[in-house]
Amino acid sequence: MKNRKAEIISNRQIAENTYEMILSHDGTELKPGQFINIKLEGFFLRRPISICDWDEKTITIIYKTVGRGTEAMKRYVSGGSIDILLPLGNGYDVSDERIGQKPIVVGGGAGVPPMFGLCRELVARGSKPLVVLGFRSSKEMFYIEKFRELGLEVAVATEDGSYGVKGFVTDVLSDSECTSFFTCGPEGMLKAMDSTMGRGISGWFSFEERMGCGFGACMGCSCETRYGSKRICKEGPVLEREEIIW
C-alpha cells in the first residue's frame, strides 16, 4: 500500500449523478476489482472507490454522487491533486482456471466501473466475456460503448426500460452456456445473481461495506464467511461464491 498525491487529469460528468475522474499513476501494479481510498478536504474518513481502469500513467475511477463526500468530489478540478491510498483489496484473479472459456461479467450501477478493468484484463488473456450491465434508466448509463470497444457483446437492462431490456440484469442473462461469472452491484443484485446461476458455476462477488481504514487495521468492514470472518477491505472486496453466507 502506498500513499500518493495523485494529480487530477480530468473530472467530468458522464451520466446522471455519475462522474469519471482520471488520476495520474506511478505504475504501481494493480488488479481489477481493487480500490483506492480517497481523502477529501473537510471529511474525516476516506472514500473507497473501485479502480475502473488503469495504464502505466493513469487510473480511471467512476463515482456516483450519493452524499456529501462525492458531491464535494465532483467539484474537484483538473490540475489539482487528491490524496489516495492504493492499491487496496484483493481484486479479481484473472489467472484462475475456474474462469473457463465463457465467463459472464455482470455489473449494476455503481458496480459497473470495476467490471471494465476486469473485462480489459480478461480480454488481454484471450477470453471474451459476455457483459451484462444494469442501470436504473438510460440517463444513468455509462461506458456501454467502452465495453463494446473491447470487442465484447454487451447486454443492458434498465429498470424503467428506457434502454435495452426492461428489468434487472437477471432478466437478461442465462447461465446456459457460461463457465463462470463475476458480479458487482447492489446487494439485492448480488443475491439475485446467486439464485439465478446454476449451483456448479464458479462465481466472484464484489462487496461494499462502510469502512474505517480500508487496509485491514480496524475490523470495521468484517463479514462472516464459511471460512471465518473476512475483512471486505483486505480479504475482499471480492469473495468467492462458495464462501458467502447470504
Binding site: N3, F43, F44, L45, R210, G216, C218, C221, S229
Partner: protein
C-alpha cells in the same frame, strides 16, 4: 530515541522506559502487521494491540462505522481472535516485526474472563503491560459497563491485580493499566477507585458514546445504533479528563483521545499524560505515528522543551 539537537523523548511507563511516548491505541493498529508493512514499527514507544477476549469473537453486525465531523463512530464489538489465537498466532508474528514490549489490551464480559485473559497474556514474554479495557458491558450486571461504576471498576481491577501478583514467580506480574470510559459523571472518581484497587497506571480515554443517522434511510448509520465516537473532535474532552484525573492520582496516565499531531501530544503531556496514544488518526493516515515521532523534536525545540518527561503535568 534521542532526537536531533539533544531533545530527549524518553518517558517511563510503570517501570519500563519508552523511547518516546507515542503508542498506537488499541483497535486502530490491529496486531501491528498492516503497519509493519509501511514503516519500521520499532520507532514506536510501544503499541496496544486489539482488545482480546477469552473466546474469538466476530463482533457486532455491520455497518460498524460512521463518519462524523473530524471524527468517526465505531461499533466493532471487539472482533478478535480470542486469547488462544493471540497467543498462538499473533504474538509470534509480533515478535518478528517488533522488538519491544507490547501493550496487551484485555476485554471481557465477566470478571472471570478479564482475570483469565489478563493472566494468560501477562505470562507472554513480549507483553510489557496489561491494558484493561473496562468499558465493556458486564453481562452479569444488566449490561452496565464495568467502567461506569467505581465499585465494579475497583472489583475487576483488584481481581486482575491479584491474579497477576499470583504469577509473580513466573514473570507474569506485569504492570496493570486500566483504561477508563469517558461516559461517566466523574472519571476521576473511577480513576481513584482503580488506583486504590491496585492499578499501576491508567489510560484515559476510551471512545465517547455517539451516533449518526442516515437521512436517506432515516435509520441510525451503525447497525448497533449507538457506537463509540473518537478522532480529533474529542481531544478537548480527553484533555479535560486527563487534567482532572492527574490531580487525583499518583499513578501514571496514558493520554488518549483525538491526538493527531505533535502539538496534541505536547498538550496531552502538559495535561498530565506520561504516554500518548493515537487512535482513529491511524486509520486515515497510517503513517501518522511515524510522522508525529519525526516531528516531535522540532516541536519540542519550538517550545523550548529538552526532556519530554519534564512537561508531564506541567499545566497544573
Amino acid at each position: 530515541m534521542v532526537g536531533s539537537d539533544r531533545t530527549n523523548m524518553k518517558v517511563e511507563l510503570c517501570g519500563i522506559t519508552l523511547d518516546n511516548p507515542i503508542i498506537p491505541a488499541s483497535g486502530t493498529f490491529g496486531f501491528g502487521r498492516e503497519f509493519a508493512e509501511l514503516y519500521d514499527i520499532n520507532i514506536l514507544g510501544t503499541f496496544s494491540f486489539k482488545g482480546t477476549t477469552g473466546k474469538n469473537r466476530f463482533g457486532n453486525p455491520t455497518p460498524r462505522i460512521a463518519e462524523c465531523t473530524e471524527g468517526m463512530i465505531n461499533s466493532v464489538g471487539l472482533e478478535n481472535p480470542g486469547v488462544d489465537g493471540v497467543i498462538n498466532e499473533e504474538l509470534p508474528e509480533i515478535s518478528k516485526m517488533f522488538n519491544k514490549s507490547v501493550m496487551a489490551n484485555v476485554s471481557g464480559f465477566s470478571l472471570e474472563e478479564y482475570v483469565e485473559v489478563a493472566g494468560r497474556l501477562a505470562l507472554q514474554k513480549q507483553v510489557g503491560w496489561i491494558e484493561l479495557n473496562i468499558s465493556c458491558p458486564n453481562v452479569h450486571r444488566g449490561g452496565m459497563a464495568f467502567g461506569t461504576d467505581p465499585k465494579e471498576a475497583a472489583r475487576v481491577t483488584g481481581a486482575v491485580k491479584k491474579a497477576l501478583e499470583a504469577q509473580s514467580s513466573d514473570g507474569g506480574n506485569k504492570p496493570l493499566i486500566v483504561k477508563l470510559s469517558p461516559n461517566v459523571t466523574d472519571i476521576s472518581e473511577i480513576a481513584v477507585a482503580c488506583e486504590i484497587a491496585g492499578a499501576d497506571g491508567l489510560t484515559l480515554i476510551n471512545t465517547v458514546q455517539g451516533m449518526r443517522i442516515d437521512l436517506k434511510t432515516g435509520r441510525p448509520v451503525i447497525a448497533n445504533k449507538i457506537g463509540g465516537f473518537s478522532g480529533p473532535a474529542i481531544l478537548p474532552i480527553a484533555l479535560g479528563m486527563v487534567y482532572r484525573t492527574y490531580e487525583k492520582v499518583k499513578i501514571p496516565i496514558v493520554g488518549c483521545g483525538g491526538v493527531s499531531c505533535p502539538e496534541d501530544v505536547l498538550e496531552m503531556m502538559m495535561a498530565g499524560a506520561t504516554g500518548v496514544q493515537v487512535g482513529a488518526a491511524n486509520l486515515v493516515n497510517p503513517w501518522i505515528c511515524q510522522e508525529i515521532i519525526e516531528a516531535l523534536p522540532s516541536q519540542m525545540k519550538k517550545y523550548g522543551i529538552e526532556n519530554l518527561r519534564d512537561i508531564i503535568g506541567g499545566a497544573h
